[in-house]
């Protein structure tokens, strides 16, 4: 699965490894004992079976050679013993891999859940800073390599390591002269494979780059394919593509040639080792037939084969482990991110009663209040949606000031509009209200309560946002509208859709409200998506509403139709509107004209026209907004 990342190794493999082991095995200590025991068993039997053939030939086959009326009991005893060892080993290795599959999958699952929980808790600044693609690959690729590590890598590493030690021991007992030959070959093998590995690694990097270029080009051009058609640019595109494609072919062929040579090279180095061992062994047998036997040589040859198998297994796994640890490191980086700060103790509660005489209740009344704890007691402040922004400064990065000295208020039910160029800070203000970002200086209150004291979720429940870019989720139209209030009934959904003037086009879709939307509603026009977004806000029914270019993609013809719905939507609510189209903002209670993060003009439509300032020249078309 997951794409291989070449050359990316963990920075702090030891600490990452320990942390990973803790995550995977914590509370599973008995399991560890069992697994290690099983691994020892299977390593032992591998070694045993490697030397079995030698002793079988020496002790059974050769003595029986040419004997008349031979007695095969000894052979049967030997084989019986061998069978028992082998069965134990098979059982052990089956147990290990069976257990580890479950452990690996469960811990990957746990890890993914932890990652997603963390993701949902992170502040927006995290999403601004980190590319979508790289976060995606944390979830898919990195967890996959982790799975490989836990399910196979660890066990194989341990098995290979343990077998290596045992085989080495057996070889040393068998013949130290031959062992020297084997050791010499280890160094040769490491050197040769190291050289090839380096070479192929470099080519693989080049290949990844070329592949990235080709895939990037494909992505860009496929998305712009309609433009290609309109400009009859097909031939030119083919030429451009051909250049990238050819380059990829070249690097890919080279990289794979080197990687593919590794196997034959290793294999034949093994054969070479065999020849040297046989020669040395033969000389030894000829020279001292009393000490060296054919059986011993045969056993040694078998052992040496198992030895080189395990060496290459070990080096391959070690590389995989390092790659997986690099992935684990990236995962832990995500898990260690600081979540959104939420120290609020003020919550929203249902209330009944009138005026000052309100009390908390559990039934639906349609009335809400802020519950403000003060010491042991708490007071109830009716939720009305009065917003005050008082001398607020804000910067995204702590260096460049985006908003300075912003002060304004909105009484419950008032409509406040922001006008200004891109980058003037309009959207930023609305993002401070629901604490997508935290202000550095000043204070923002809702109904007199500092928003820093309000629990994040309750604060956000008190307002709905309709953003310029509508995000729809895979699911039915109904589910998408209901996103604003999960417990809404089907009637509520239809009512909201009608209010947003979305009902008609929804009914024209294949399954009406049950039509499944995919890929951010790819079959809908931008305008239709905005209508759904408005319906979503309508169903949420909060006291405060933020409309950030909410109707920018709806044609004016349709907008006139939506207008009455929008008016109804804004009724009795505090509304903050951002719009390019000045006709949308002219009936606001107050219009704030922003420039470079400051409010440079304020007042209602008439006031601002009379002032003959920036708003006036915008409105009369003398200047343009960029």
């Amino acid at each position: 699965m997951g794409k291989m990342k070449f050359g990316e190794k963990a920075k702090n493999p030891k600490a990452t490894f320990l942390r990973l082991m803790k995550d995977v095995f914590e509370g599973r200590y008995l399991l560890i004992v069992l697994i290690v025991f099983c691994i020892i068993l299977s390593a032992f039997s591998t070694t045993y079976s490697a030397s079995f053939i030698g002793s079988f030939i020496d002790d059974v086959v050769i003595p029986l050679k040419g004997v008349e009326n031979p007695d095969f009991t000894k052979a049967l005893i030997y084989l019986g013993k061998f069978a028992v060892v082998v069965l134990i080993s098979i059982a052990a290795s089956f147990a290990v891999s069976y257990i580890m599959v479950g452990v690996a999958q469960k811990s990957i699952y746990d890890m993914r859940i932890k990652m997603f929980d963390k993701l949902e808790s992170l502040p927006l600044s995290y999403f601004d800073k980190n590319a979508r693609g790289s976060i995606m690959s944390r979830f898919a690729n990195d967890t996959d390599t982790l799975n490989q590590l836990v399910a196979n890598g660890l066990v194989q590493l341990l098995t290979a390591g343990m077998t290596l030690v045992m085989v080495l021991f057996s070889m040393a007992v068998n013949s130290w002269i031959l062992l020297l030959v084997v050791i010499a070959f280890i160094f040769i093998t490491l050197f040769v494979t190291g050289t090839i590995g380096k070479k192929s690694g470099a080519f693989f990097k080049a290949q990844q780059k070329a592949l990235g270029d080709v895939n990037g080009y494909i992505e860009e051009m496929m998305n712009g394919q309609r433009v290609v058609k309109v400009f009859t640019h097909e031939e030119k595109c083919k030429e451009d593509f051909e250049v990238l494609n050819k380059k990829l072919e070249k690097t890919m062929a080279e990289a794979n040639t080197w990687a593919g040579s590794m196997g034959p090279v290793n294999n034949n180095l093994g054969h070479l080792q065999y020849v040297v061992l046989v020669l040395v062994g033969a000389v030894a047998i000829i020279a001292r037939p009393d000490i060296y036997t054919i059986g011993a040589l045969a056993a040694f040859l078998q052992l040496s084969k198992s030895f080189s198998n395990n060496i290459s297994q070990l080096s391959q796994q070690a590389n995989n482990v390092l790659l997986a640890l690099a992935g684990a490191e990236r995962i832990y980086k995500l898990l260690d991110e600081e979540p959104e700060k939420d120290n609020g103790d003020v919550t929203i509660v249902r209330v009944k009663g009138e005026g000052d005489n309100i009390e908390e209740c559990s039934e639906r009344t349609g009335h809400w209040a802020w519950k403000v704890p003060e010491g042991d007691k708490s007071t109830l402040v009716p939720l009305k949606g009065g917003v005050v922004i008082d001398h607020v400064d804000f910067s995204y990065d702590g260096e460049r000031t985006v908003l300075s000295d912003i002060s304004l208020y909105a009484k419950p039910g008032q409509k406040i509009a922001f006008v200004g160029s891109t980058g003037a800070g309009k959207t930023t203000i609305t993002n401070l209200l629901n604490r997508f970002y935290n202000i550095q200086k000043g204070i923002i209150t809702i109904d007199g309560v500092d928003i820093k004291r309000i629990k994040l979720n309750d604060l956000r429940r008190s307002m709905a946002m309709v953003l310029q870019d509508t995000n729809l989720f895979t699911g039915t139209v109904k589910e998408n509208i209901r996103y604003g209030r999960p417990q809404a009934t089907d009637e509520d959904v239809i009512k909201a859709a009608k209010l947003a003037n979305a009902h008609d086009f929804i009914m024209m879709m294949k399954d009406g409200y049950d039509t499944v939307l995919t890929n951010n509603g790819e079959n809908l026009s931008q305008g239709q998506r905005q209508l759904l977004s408005i319906a979503r806000a309508a169903i949420a029914d909060p006291p405060i509403m933020v409309l950030d270019e909410a109707t920018s993609s709806i044609d004016t013809y349709t907008e006139t139709l939506v207008q009455s719905g929008m008016d109804k939507l804004m009724e009795n609510r505090t509304v903050f509107v951002i719009a390019h189209r000045l006709s949308t903002v002219r009936n606001s209670n107050a219009i704030m004209v922003l420039e470079n993060g400051r409010i440079i003009e304020r007042g209602d439509h008439e006031d601002l026209l009379k002032a003959k300032g920036v708003y006036y020249s915008l409105y009369t078309g003398k200047t343009e907004l960029s």
């Binding site: 040419g66 290795s93 086009f505 044609d555 139709l561």
Partner: protein, 572 residues
Amino acid sequence: MIKDLFSRVRQYKAKTVATPIFMVLEVLMEVLIPAIMAQIIDVGVATMDMKYILLMSALLILSALLSLLFGVMGAKFGSEAGAGFSTNLRHDLYCKVQEFSFSDIDKFSPSSLITRLTTDVQRVQQLFTMSIRMFVRSPMMLIFASIMAFRAGGILSLVFVIVLPILALGIGVMVKVTYSYFNAAFKGYDRFNQVVGENLSGIRTVKAYVREEKEKKKFADSAENIRYNFTKAQKMMAAMSPMMMFVSYGCMIAISYFGAKLVNVGRMDTGSLMSIFTYSGQILSSLMMSGMIVVMYTMSKPSMERIAEVLASESSMDENENGEKVVPDGSISFENVNFGYKEGSGVLKDINLEIKSGEMVGVIGTTGSGKTTLVSLIARLYDTSSGSVKVGGKDVREYNLKSLRDSVSVVLQKNTLFSGSVRENLQWGNEKASDDEIEKALDIASALSFIKEKEGVLDYHVEQGGANFSGGQRQRLCIARALLKSPKILIMDDSTSAVDTKTDRKIREALRRDVNSMTRIIISQRISSIEDADKIVIMNAGRIEDVGTHEELIERNAGYKNLFETQTKGRE
């Protein structure tokens, strides 16, 4: 399907054939080597004939070197053939997509085309390389090793005859069962990626509506689905290697016992006995490998199918290569035109419309009323269901498609700029356009002023999708690009929606002044953008509701008058 895909190796056919040949040669060496080894022990060591040992060792080294050579050659040719094959495949796919009509693109959707050209091609390439290297190698290994084992062990190799079919059956069953689980898990991955992706792009919505908990539940469901299926599949796979071990050790024991008997009666030597152990290892591992190839094949099958689907689809539009190459003038007429994107869905109904060459026509109407569809038919982005669209007096289908589109320039609503310099982007309109011509076009589109402020001016780098320009600037660049084609007909589909009214007016005036021989069709939501048009077409639910000048429509069309009043309220 496979035949069609694999026929695309073309110039790499020689390498594709050479690879398995080298692999077979390598296999020959691989099975020869244990035989030589056996000779060394049986004859050389047993008789202590040092000369024989040296001779055989030399032979062994030679074989090893040959095996190395064949192996490396196999890897080289295999890699080159694989890379070449995937390059061809990608090339064919890309060229095929270039032939696609708009409705073909709609059918497949860009995102799915991207998957097919990237991930799917990579997966099929892996299968291809693996196949040409292993598909022949493994069975060959199986056969040769069996023959050699038979040669060395005679009736001893009967052991394999009994064991192999049983093992093959076991592997087959296991592959089949695990495949369904793997398949389910991979499908689960799509959903998993979808949930994460949607949460990343929609994080503001999630947070604004405090939906974190629901999203977590969604995510947990998808992660659990993967866990469940993978655990099932891999537990099954976990049984695979013990099973192999069981069989191979079983063989070993049987061979040892019967081998000892054979040696006893002098029908076999110890060296041969040892070589049989090696052969048994080769036989079993090649069987395992064959199983793996089957697994890989089944796993890449969906990818192959998706690729084949693109390659097999014929463009739904006949480009009429031999058609008329010259569009005489910019007159347009719609005669009883009906159109639907899917059969039976009427998007345009009974359209009749005459536009004279050089006229400026405005089109207005609600979302979904068919404005875009109407103008799409002129550049033959789609073909009518019935009726005829004529340009320059001839049905659009009578023209060579490229010539028609070169004469009809469309500024699409969803427009795209590509990464590259400003000049490169504009030269899409006319490859040979000089800087002067480009600047002229930019000037008409009111884009020259802001481009002049950019570093390097025409060399200024445009990022993918034109991300480093504002929406209005992008639109103006797209208009300039379309103008450079010097078309007979210019169609602007809501191309100034993000441009402020003043600039919008400037663009219209420049169009009137500098390119007044062009037929211009302007779709707009703003009446101000089209009020001075020669005629205005009002679309409503796929039909033309009214056609007339601004004054006429104000007079007789209540809806139009109403809209005009709402829109101009701000301008009194």
